[in-house]
Amino acid sequence: MNERNKPFFKRYKGIFIGIIVVVVYYWALTGTNTSATAFAEGIPNMIDFVQRMFPPDFSNLGMFLLKAVETLQMAIVGSTLGALIALPLSFLAARNINRNKITYHLVRTLFDICRGINELVWGLIFVSMVGLGPFPGVLALTTHVIGALGRYFSESIETVDSEVIKAIMSTGATKIQMIMRGIIPQVKPLFINYTLYYLENNFRAATVLGLVGAGGIGMELLTSMRLFRSHEVLTILIIMVVMVAAIDRISAYIRKRVVQVENI
């Protein structure tokens, strides 16, 4: 033990951390060609691009809105389907319920794979499997949600009050009855909360799934950009922003209500 070094490191801890931060940051900046001059040089191009977008072109508004609704439908189906599949699986991935190590690790790994691959990548995979359109998009969202919600669900199951579970078991209940009457009531608000949160997430993810041909308003965005219809691009962007903001608020409101009920 070098007793002298201890206070030395402690005293100059701030400086060491500062040096490390600077080095890491410099390394990351140079690696990505991030430079202020390049950005400044690009500003006129950007102004030009934005100017060309104005005014928004609403002539195809009806079709864009239909596509926006399709995006919402994708998000709704993807989230709920994902949640429904994740629900039973999550019990297998909860250590306090499933003592079988093989199935536990199998389901955990499945969740990791589903969650670890981005929705857009899943979109690419499913487009090559089932063709273009909203269906591969729904599959992509569902797959990702199974992994994400599966993990959250199983973690909430692991935190339930085990004494309450013992009380249910002591009545002579079966394991399924214990899950239905002992665990589900305890985790229900959390599950609703997470699912709504992923509905918000999925709508945002669904807006870009069209870029890989997996349906939704992103497909229109890609088409308009490729045809240099800048005025339409702006219209689509406006629709996206308004809908994302609206859905986030509605979902946040419902989530708040659910949590409030829990806290009475």
Binding site: D161, E163, V164, K166, A167, I168, M169, S170, T171, G172, A173, T174, I176, Q177, M180, R181, G182, P185, Q186, K188, P189, E262, I264
Partner: protein, 257 residues
Amino acid sequence: MIKIKKLNHRYNNRKENAVRDVSLHIRRGENVAIIGSSGSGKSTLLKCMNKLIEPTSGNILINDEDIINANKNDVNRIRSKIGMIFQNFNLIERNTVLSNVLNGRLSYNNSLSTLFGRFSKEDHLIANENLKRVGLTKHTHEKVMNLSGGQKQRVAIARALSQQPNVILADEPVSSLDPKLMKEIMDLLGNICKEKNITLVVSLHFLDFAKKFSSRIIGMRDGKIVFDDEPAQLTEKDVVDIYGKTKDWYLYGKAGF
């Protein structure tokens, strides 16, 4: 009735046994109090009786059936006749009183009907009847989290009664209640068990309670039974045997009265 033979239990992370060589015979309809200070093994012994804790060795017969070596289905069947009441009530706080009491009927239903949330008319009838018996009819559809501690324990008693048990195990049922409620709940529990001829085994901190409410006292210390007789036979020396030389027992005895 409960027959325990050479029961031992050791927790995984401990050196000493929590329950040591306990043999016990409790007859149908008896009202027994297990007393002892914290860590004496009374709670462990109680939880072994319905196999919530699996003992390291030994044997337990409930109504002549071996619960320790029984298979899963048989354990559930034996458990269905043993009601249990806990110190912290262990209810589903967010659910209604009725929903919690109906949980006592689970063993009379199959898993499939529970999956669809169904309980029979008879289950509802029994649940409501027991809610009436514990004086909670008015609160049937209230959420448990809005009730007081005493009311919560009444819900737990109604849940246990809905199992139509012939044994009730109560693990320090009044330890989280104030003195007035303690007496109310103990009276209620004692009276119900008497009228329905239910065997009652209660673990208690309080000596006075045990003397007053039980017809038989089992004193435990360091996992062993050091006293087992009628309350009238309990001498000052026995009390020292149970609680040790400290005057702790005095606190246990006087708290609440």
